[in-house]
């Protein structure tokens, strides 16, 4: 028996002076294997052409369609309606600038994050096109890939208590990015250099350990493990640096 789904969707278009923040309701007949991608596109085509939301790959790979689905951040494209009750409430991800309705500006947030953590390989080596590539153990390559699987959907930021309270918090995604470069031997940054970026309350010491980031990560990245490792390492670096500073003063 096909259900009639009842959607309650946050609406606000800041570019339209006549628009006010509100919740709009829509009814839609459910079809077999329906996802929120299918449902939202049908709502736009059949009921309200002004409804704004973001999809791109619609295959759970690009991270464009993060939204709050019945109170929980997740990717809309791979959320099947049959896994939801017939009342479905959709809100934009908090923690990002609103574009309109369910669409938020993750691009701006993430670009700022890359600049802050300097999300690239730091090296003094110059690439020699004639040389054989530097060797790497395959197990290490797999380990780096595990952390590189993040798709920057923003769900962990939206689900994070600290990020909601302090906008400068790097979030699990930023800390994971640092962890990714720390295990990569091609990046020549030292622990002290990493400490300068994340060794503070806006970084690794800001986390309150609520674990929502790991709970909701659609790619199931072990974010808490990374945080733990990073924290231990940074605390150790802090003590070492402190010790070094004192030694320096004595002299």
């Amino acid at each position: 028996m096909a259900r009639i789904l009842s959607f309650s969707i946050f609406r606000y278009n800041p570019s339209d002076p006549g628009s006010r923040p509100r919740m709009d309701n829509f009814l839609l007949d459910e079809s077999e294997r329906m996802t929120l991608f299918i449902a939202l596109n049908r709502l736009r085509e059949e009921q309200d052409a002004s409804l704004q939301f973001d999809f791109c790959c619609r295959a759970g790979i690009c991270g464009a369609c993060g939204m709050v689905i019945n109170g929980r951040p997740g990717l809309a494209c791979h959320t099947k309606t049959k896994d939801l009750p017939k009342e479905i409430a959709l809100m934009p991800l908090p923690g990002f600038d609103l574009v309109a309705d369910l669409s938020v500006d993750t691009g701006k947030w993430f670009r700022a994050m890359y600049q802050r953590v300097e999300s690239w390989v730091h090296t003094d080596k110059t690439f020699d096109p004639k040389a054989e590539e530097e060797r790497m153990d395959n197990a290490l390559a797999d380990q780096i890939y595990e952390l590189e699987r993040c798709i920057e959907c923003g769900c962990c930021v939206s689900a994070c208590g600290t990020a909601q309270m302090r906008p400068d918090f790097l979030g699990a995604v930023g800390l994971n990015r640092i962890a990714r470069f720390m295990i990569d031997p091609r990046d020549e940054r030292t622990d002290s250099q990493y400490f300068d970026i994340v060794g503070n309350d806006a970084g690794v010491f800001g986390c309150m350990g609520l674990l929502a980031c790991e709970d909701i990560c659609p790619k199931e990245i072990p974010l808490q493990d990374q945080l733990g490792i990073l924290r231990r390492k940074m605390a150790f670096t802090a003590v070492k640096d402190l010790f070094r500073m004192r030694e320096g003063k004595k002299k």
Binding site: D54, A59, H78, V99, Q115, T123, K125, Y145
Partner: protein, 705 residues
């Protein structure tokens, strides 16, 4: 209105766009990438399987080299590719993989010692050499003689794009995301930049650039069922086509990937078959070896897709509410392999199908996947028709892929072409000065503002944009799929022309304020229908079967008449594209021959025209045998700026001896429509539809020099 000045403007921030921008930024030029989505959401990220490069590190790739890669690519293209381009690509690809490694891509590496692998359903053993341990390894892909596809699990595009965007951020390449180009700015000879619309607030802005690159990827979304991301609607190609000057190459060459899942059409990688997965029918019989004893599931994509369709037509498909499909079986690869090396596939099956591929079969069928066609360029990346305009990646017809591209060659192409075109763009920028005419700029922006006001005010009509899109989808799905024939294609062109009429009468149902998705689609629907017409009309004219273009009424590959590339342009006000043809390749390293898979007959080149030496074939005398001149006759000069040739005037192309497509442009519309489906090609069944007047053409080319 905000105006941005930059040396290089890249339209698109996927792998090709960012790689070219990085080349420019690395040489001290300013570069801005415009992107509909944040750079890392570009569709490059979705490429799973890998990148072909003949490194020859792994045991099954032992002895590989660019020559073998080249031969595979040419055969894969069904001799439709430009062999100079293919050679350059194959020689450069290994360097690119190493550069990407240096930039942080976690390529999978060779693990020394014994390991097992699957080919088809059977298990074999291989021994990886100790001295190769830790070097970049590779996996098998379709249509290749060696294991050559470099990969990071099945998230290759993702890791490469992340490394690329990291590099772009490091070098200060500006990415303006949520910004969509709505038109190019040009003065008839030079491309001067673009008009763009913000997908944050809907505002227009102007980007002025000395060089402009189109790198917007494929246009799969003109099909309803496509593996492509929703952003792959051909935006850059539409802007190019709207100039009336730039030519699109081989638009009828559309690839269908064998394994789109049913329903939802999401791709599962060719790596599944490369790693030993098999295709099964309704009786769970492995049928591919029956058709292709040698290559089986690992024949090229066009061949596997056709064989699958053929098999389903025999009634051996699996029935489902979403139509017939077949099964992909990777169960025998084992849990460890699937959960690590085919991890995205595992997730896609879990989330979208509720299937566990370790224990269950995956429902698949051939699905639109890749556009071999695109903005036709020189080997340097310079577009035909406008100085200062370049293209790279899937948006371009460079032309590495001819009528079928090999898996792993497109992702590699984005970065290899990005690097090579990037070098040419830098050379070009060094000598480039342009005058930006305020009149031209104001004209371009006023035109776009006018379009927007008309759409919002319903000045041209009230057609519903979504209905127009659906009508286009219906027409092209029906007429220009895997198997094609004159009757269906003629009906498809007819229907698309009616759809074009409707597209020109679209009016909004909403107020269009801000980033309005309805306005966004309305601004490009006419262009999308035009692209669909380029595909369908080009396919109708091409009365042969080559690679992915398979005509039931012309089953032979016709090297005598059709070893040519289609060039489509759209003169202002026309209802059909203007089609011209040029030789597929000026240089033959490998003369046309049998691919070794796929079957099919070949009508050979006449001996006189057959390539014995790498010289331009003489113009054949007999009517019905013609090799059209290559349009821009300017070779890639390494020490001078690249110089695309001035386009041929549509009128000149419609000279007396070019009766068919050109007349469709100048004649009234109904007459320009295709005649009887039985004889759709006025030029007869053996000759290409239109060759531009050779004399007039050369004159135009000389005039430019």
């Amino acid at each position: 209105m905000q105006t941005f000045h930059t040396d290089l403007l890249c339209i698109g921030a996927g792998l090709a766009g960012e790689r070219v921008a990085i080349a420019a930024a690395g040489a001290g030029f300013s570069a801005i990438c415009l992107s509909i989505v944040p750079a890392r959401r570009s569709h490059s990220a979705a490429a799973q399987g890998g990148m072909q490069a003949a490194l020859g590190n792994c045991a099954m790739g032992d002895g590989d080299g660019p020559d073998i890669h080249f031969a595979d690519t040419v055969k894969g293209s069904d001799w439709g590719c430009d062999q100079e381009v293919a050679r350059l690509f194959c020689d450069s690809a290994p360097i690119v993989m190493r550069e990407l490694a240096a930039w942080g891509v976690p390529w999978n590496r060779v693990v020394a010692g014994r390991s097992s692998y699957f080919k088809g359903g059977q298990q074999f053993e291989k021994i990886e050499k100790k001295e190769k341990e830790g070097l970049i390894t590779a996996r098998a892909f379709g249509g290749t003689a060696k294991w050559r596809t470099c990969y990071t699990s099945d998230g290759t595009g993702h890791t490469v794009l992340y490394a690329m965007d990291n590099k772009a951020a490091q070098l200060g390449v500006a990415v303006h995301d949520r910004t969509e180009v709505v038109s190019l700015i040009h003065d008839g000879e030079n491309c001067l930049g673009a008009v763009a619309r913000s997908l944050r607030d809907g505002g227009l802005s102007v980007y002025l650039a000395k060089a402009t690159l189109i790198a917007t990827g494929g246009f799969g979304r003109i099909y309803r069922e496509s593996t492509n991301a929703v952003i792959n609607d051909g935006g850059g190609l539409i802007a190019a086509l709207d100039t009336g000057l730039v030519r699109l190459g081989n638009m009828e060459a559309v690839q269908f990937h064998p394994t789109g899942i049913v329903p939802t059409d999401i791709l599962v990688t060719e790596g599944c078959r490369g790693d030993g997965g098999t295709l099964l029918d309704v009786n769970e019989h492995r049928f591919m070896p029956d058709y292709e004893p040698e290559k089986a599931e690992l024949a090229s994509r066009d061949v596997v897709s056709r064989r699958m369709t053929e098999h389903m037509r025999k009634g051996l498909g699996v029935k489902s509410p979403y139509g017939d499909h077949l099964w992909l079986d990777i169960r025998h690869l084992g849990e460890k392999h699937i959960r690590t090396k085919l991890r995205e596939v595992d997730e896609i099956c879990k989330y979208f199908l509720g299937v566990d591929p370790v224990r269950q079969l995956i429902p698949v069928r051939p699905t639109q996947h890749y556009s071999m066609g695109g903005v036709r360029t020189e080997i340097s990346g310079a577009a035909y028709g406008l100085m200062g305009l370049f293209a790279a990646g899937e948006a371009a017809c460079w032309d590495l892929h001819g009528f079928n591209r090999l898996g792993g060659n497109s992702l590699a192409e984005t970065v290899v072409a990005g690097m090579l075109v990037g070098e040419k763009v830098v050379e070009f920028l060094k000598g480039r000065q342009v005058n930006f005419s305020t009149a031209v700029i104001e004209d371009a922006t006023a035109k776009q503002q006018g379009r927007i006001s008309r759409l919002i005010g319903k000045a041209d009509g009230k057609e519903n944009v979504f209905e127009v899109k659906n009508r286009m989808h219906d027409a092209i799905m029906k007429g220009a799929g895997i198997f094609r024939n004159g009757t269906d294609l003629a009906a498809c062109v007819d229907e698309l022309q009616d759809t074009l009429d409707e597209a020109r009468k679209v009016g909004l149902s909403t107020n269009g304020r801000g980033a309005s998705p309805e306005l966004t689609l309305a601004l490009k629907i006419e262009g999308m229908v035009k692209l669909a017409l380029c595909v369908a009309f080009g396919a109708l004219r091409r009365t042969e079967s080559r690679g992915s273009h398979s005509r039931e009424d012309f089953p032979e590959r016709n090297d005598r008449d059709w070893l040519v590339r289609t060039l489509a342009s759209w003169p202002e006000g026309a209802d059909l594209p203007l089609l011209e043809y040029e030789t597929a390749t000026e240089v033959f390293e490998i003369p046309p021959g049998d691919r070794g898979y796929g079957g099919g007959k070949i009508i050979p080149m006449p001996p006189a025209a057959a390539p014995s030496a790498p010289e331009e074939p003489e113009a054949p005398e007999a009517p019905g045998e013609q090799v059209a001149p290559r349009v821009p006759n300017v070779p890639n000069v390494p020490d001078g700026p690249v110089k695309p040739v001035k386009p041929v005037e549509p009128v000149a192309a419609a000279a007396p001896n070019a009766p068919s497509a050109a007349s469709a442009v100048s004649a009234p519309r109904r007459q320009g429509r295709l005649g009887e489906p039985a004889a759709p090609n006025p030029a007869g069944s053996s000759a290409p539809a239109t060759a531009p007047d050779r004399a007039g053409h050369n004159a135009a080319a000389k005039g430019e020099k």
